[in-house]
């Protein structure tokens, strides 16, 4: 265990090494490490954010889907209502048309029947006149007896 000038030499070397390390080794390495740590932290934060965004988007999408479904259901409901309404309306219209057509038919039939009646009456009057002429074998003044004939026609 000889203590000698080696100690001075080693002390000098030690000081030089520490100063060199402090000036040229530690700062750049630590800087690189810290910069990388910051980058990684940013990346992690960004991925966290993205995950949250994704979750939100999914929630939104689900909500929108639900809303769309509800809308579709209500549209279908409305359409069904409208459909039955239309059908009812159509049925009503058809019913009205039917009654109208029936009424018209009835009216026509009535007029025709009246006409026929009228014609028949005329013809009966003529026949009666002819029959009476034959019976009387003489001409009857149609004009003079028209009141009698009219009475007859009215009785038919």
């Amino acid at each position: 265990m000889n203590i000698n000038a080696t100690l001075i030499g080693e002390l000098f070397a030690f000081v030089v090494f520490v100063i060199f390390c402090m000036k040229f080794v530690w700062p750049p390495i630590m800087g690189a490490i810290e910069a990388r740590q910051a980058t990684i932290a940013d990346g992690l934060a960004a991925s966290d954010r993205a995950a949250k965004d994704l979750e939100l988007a999914q929630e939104k999408a689900t909500a929108q889907l639900k809303e769309a479904k509800a809308q579709a259901a209500s549209i279908i409901d409305a359409a069904k209502k409208r459909e039955s309404q239309i059908v009812e309306e159509a049925a009503g219209k058809a019913e009205a048309e039917k009654t109208k057509i029936l009424a018209a038919g009835h009216a026509e039939i009535e007029t025709e029947r009246n006409q026929a009646k009228e014609e028949l009456r005329q013809q009966v009057a003529v026949l009666a006149l002819a029959g009476a002429e034959k019976i009387l074998e003489r001409s009857i003044d149609a004009a003079a007896h028209s009141d009698i004939l009219d009475k007859l026609v009215a009785e038919l």
Binding site: L7, G9, A13, F14, F20, M22, P27, R36
Partner: protein, 289 residues
Amino acid sequence: MFNNGYAVINTLFFETLIFLNFNHWEHNMSSAAELTSQEYITHHLTNLTVGEGFWTFNVDTLGWSVFLGLLFLTIFRSVAKKATTGVPGKLQCAVEMIVEFVDDSVKGTFHGKNDLIAPLALTVFVWILLMNMMDWVPVDILPWIISLVSGIEMSHIYMKPVPTTDPNLTFALAGGVFFLIIYYSIKVKGIGGFIKELTTQPFGHWSLYPVNFILEVVTLLARPLALSLRLFGNLYAGELIFLLIATLGLYQLPVHFIWAAFHLLVIPLQAFIFMMLTIVYLSLAHEDH
């Protein structure tokens, strides 16, 4: 001859070298006197020196420590220059792992703001780790290589390649740390504050201030002493055991392996302890009571 023959290896990995070395030793036997175990060990614990008296330089300690320090700084500096904030390469990953490990240790203990402590801890840790790792170099391989290259007999070659087994180095490191302890104590607390800290505790009464002062100075001085002697003692003892094992002849192979494996624990642990205590002492120096 197996009892005290030179053995080249510390570990099984150098099995072949042992035979080379035995041959070498047998060649030398004719000319050189056979070394006893004690002489062998003493020989291996002697530094290669230049100079006289105090102005002796342990060339092997200085050379290896500076070489290993430069190795550390070269590797780390090359990474620092190319350091990318993107995807790092494998070397950068390894270096960053060490840097982060040191940084975590510093941040866990020292809570002030100081740009020196972290780089200091890094230098101390890696440098001591590298120097301790020289313990794994087989005890005779370096002298053997030098002897092959230079042609000098191995018994005349002195080479102690583990710088941390030299108290000069451990005292220099602890001395540097001690200087910083004093420097920061005064810088943070002021001279008055520092003296107050040394005198007014642990006993509160003024009549006991001299006792306090003696206690505190002893505590203060014990720190660098403990720091340096712990490192020196552990590594010196480890090296000594390696040398003892090397005198066992062929039986040394498994024993060396076990001892080297045990040093997987000792080597990083001692480096870590030195670093940790450096941080702790400096953070104590920053604390204002």
